[in-house]
């Protein structure tokens, strides 16, 4: 069994920001993954989706399901991340006042993704865009 589905994300579109992650979560629930796996995947997905909305012009996420593994690949066209190590630090944020008023900009998004995923790979090119490869293992005995 293997399944993929792609979703578009529009940069700056705060009105529907998070919709894709809600949809992914509902799909995973429908399939019947363990609640813990669903929650971790949804949180990682939502943080990545919000970053795409906040920082990029446009992006997409590809959801891939294989036995034992959930893959999420976020790819965006945007400013890129100059220093990924710095961006990964809790509290580092370049969010604008407008984003902070909406409750974002704690600088916790990428660390949250790291915590909830079993594997996270970030690649980025300044001036072009950013790609996040997120892996969640779905077997309950997968060591979490």
């Amino acid at each position: 069994m293997s399944f993929t589905r792609e979703f578009e994300i529009v940069g700056g579109d705060f009105a529907s920001a998070g919709r894709v992650s809600t949809e992914i979560k509902a799909m995973l629930r429908g399939i019947g993954y363990p609640p813990d796996v669903i929650r971790r995947t949804a949180i990682a997905s939502y943080e990545a989706e919000m970053n795409t909305v906040m920082y990029a012009r446009r992006g997409s996420v590809r959801l891939g399901l294989e036995p034992g593994v959930i893959h999420l690949v976020f790819a965006d066209e945007g400013p890129g991340i100059p220093d990924i190590g710095l961006a990964m630090q809790e509290g580092f944020s370049t969010a604008t006042d407008e984003m902070r008023e909406r409750g974002f900009g704690a600088g916790m998004g990428l660390p949250n993704i790291q915590r909830n995923a079993d594997r996270l790979e970030i690649t980025s090119e300044v001036g072009r865009g950013t790609r996040l490869d997120i892996t969640v293992l779905t077997d309950e005995e997968a060591g979490r």
Binding site: F14, P35, R39, I43, G103, G107, R115
Partner: protein, 137 residues
């Protein structure tokens, strides 16, 4: 040991004098197992446990979205803040109880705690893996 965990939303409403803005069927008997007060959504996602109650001063739709993502069972807007129309309609769509209290954040959290609702670090297990709390809904 045999104390029932958490608090019903009916009790929460009584303790905080809440107005109920979104009331999905059966909302009064929904139990929240811990409470969390926060205005930063990534903090909520980092620290709140599944099955909890979120108290917040934010009023936009992202609050409801964040709650849904983190398996939060209900959202309370503090200090009589009116949630945006988009937040109300999203809560309706997702079936998430949404309430408002006239109390400011500190007092709302304090009264719930005094009435027996625990904080997210005071209940067993959880964090990113707090779904034990989510069973028996």
């Amino acid at each position: 040991m045999t104390d029932p965990v958490g608090m019903s939303l009916a009790k929460v409403r009584e303790v905080l004098g809440c107005e109920v803005l979104v009331a999905p069927p059966g909302w009064e008997s929904v139990r929240v197992e811990a409470g969390c007060g926060a205005d930063l959504m990534s903090d909520v996602l980092a620290f709140i446990k599944g099955g909890s109650l979120l108290l917040t001063g934010l009023t936009n739709a992202q609050t409801v979205r964040t709650a849904e993502v983190a398996d939060v069972r209900a959202v309370i807007c503090v200090r009589s803040k009116r949630p945006d129309a988009s937040a109300v309609s999203l809560a309706q769509e997702l079936g998430l109880p949404l309430l408002a209290t006239p109390l400011p954040m500190f007092e709302a959290c304090g009264r719930l705690h005094e009435a027996g609702l625990r904080g997210c670090t005071e209940v067993p297990a959880g964090g990113a893996r707090g779904n034990e709390l989510h069973q028996g809904v």
